[in-house]
């Protein structure tokens, strides 16, 4: 059955839909967690530490976090590989362009591929910046995420990269969530408006929630 799914274009779409929904679920929780920064360094750092102790004593220190990381990496890889292979197929299927060009589909729909690439690159930078600290502006302090976040968003490029990526995310989710529902056969004529509205609300909340942090640092609300 695994082969049937992976060999079919519909199967790869299913993989994209499921992996996309896993990432979306994570992002909602991630965004809500980020907002703790507005309650000060004590709350935020305590929350960051708690993330490492989830599941204790059944799980060892940081195990839950590593399980989440493994699932997320698997989802990102599955999503990207199927996107790449499906895009290759799509481009091959339409080798000759029309001479008379017309703007087609909405902005969110047209930017899915580029938006996805931007998000992929962003994830790499984001981890090197705030998880490993490799490209962190100055003096990354493990265990002090509050200060690290403020450091990142005190640089112009930190804000620029982050806000660009979050806007790309909003657009990606807007078309992606609704598309995933169609791919999984959950859409219907009667449910279409509700699904589109859910996609819009999710996209808007995620964008606003994530952008709130750099804006908070820039305006001095978080310091």
């Amino acid at each position: 059955m695994g082969r049937t799914i992976w060999d079919s274009s519909l199967g790869k779409k299913t993989v994209m839909a499921v992996s996309g929904l896993i990432m979306l679920g994570y992002l909602v929780v991630h965004m809500l967690g980020n907002l703790k920064i507005f309650f000060g360094s004590g709350d935020f750092n305590h929350y960051a530490h708690w993330l490492r102790t989830i599941g204790e004593p059944f799980l060892h220190y940081e195990w839950a976090l590593w399980i989440i990381r493994v699932v997320l990496v698997a989802a990102v890889v599955a999503h990207a590989v199927s996107a790449y292979q499906l895009s290759r197929r799509d481009i091959r299927a339409r080798p000759t362009k029309y001479v008379h060009k017309k703007p087609r589909a909405g902005y969110a729909t047209r930017t899915m591929r580029w938006g996805g690439i931007i998000l992929g690159l962003f994830i790499v930078w984001h981890i090197l910046d705030l998880t490993t600290g490799t490209v962190h502006p100055d003096g990354f302090q493990p265990g002090h995420p509050y200060q690290n976040v403020i450091d990142t968003f005190s640089t112009w490029y930190g804000n620029a990269v982050y806000i660009t990526a979050v806007l790309a995310l909003g657009l990606h989710v807007r078309h992606g969530f609704w598309s995933a529902a169609q791919t999984l056969g959950a859409g219907s004529r009667t449910r279409d408006r509700a699904l589109k509205a859910t996609a819009d609300v999710l996209a808007l909340l995620l964008t606003a929630g994530f952008v709130a942090v750099p804006v908070g640092v820039m305006t001095g609300v978080v310091n």
Binding site: R89, D90, I91, A93, P95, W178, G185
Partner: protein
Amino acid sequence: MKLTLRVWRQRNTGAPGAMSTYEVDGISADMSFLEMLDTLNEELILKGEDPVAFDHDCREGICGACSLVINGDAHGPERTTSCQLHMRSFSDGDTIDVEPWRAAAFPVVKDLVVDRSAFDRIIQSGGYITAPTGAAPEAHATPVPKPDADFAFEHAECIGCGACVAACPNGSAMLFTSAKINHLNVLPQGAPERETRVLDMVAQMDEEGFGGCTLTGECATACPKGIPLVSITSMNKEWLRATRKAGKR
């Protein structure tokens, strides 16, 4: 009215093609788009030039033969077939671009004619029912609930013209394939092959080199028969169901 036409001319599948410009005069607003092309061709023949090749058959919007991309829209600006598009949709002095369906799976045969036998092979892979042929059976022998009959009929309206493929930026045949699958899968007559039909037709669709669906909705906008985008969702549902069942066997 007087029009400038820019038409795709290509001698055969292998030859390179290009847009050629023609002037046509004396076009009535009541002519169909194909009658306008007939007028151009009569002039070309009188001048000893090669007439523009284009597909057409019934000229009443039910056969699915005509296949023109007019000003970048499959079947032109109205939601109908090219043969049912009338010149009143254009104005005197307009420049109109006429191109063939563009898709790797639909190679150009000549000028505006493309080879759509990929669709035939998708149908051959499962777009039928295994029923004994002969005299028509008594209509009420197999009861079909009204909503199912309506759903089947809505999809049976597909004339297989390929406008969906032509309009799709990915050259995807999902709308066509979904219309054919949904039409038969909802009916009791189509039930024995419900799973194999969707699995085989989708596999053949991939095999022919059509692209995948990115839900742009261009296909449903171009469809002269109004097959809705949600048909693709229904097909995805059928495919997932059949894949699950096949896995259990």
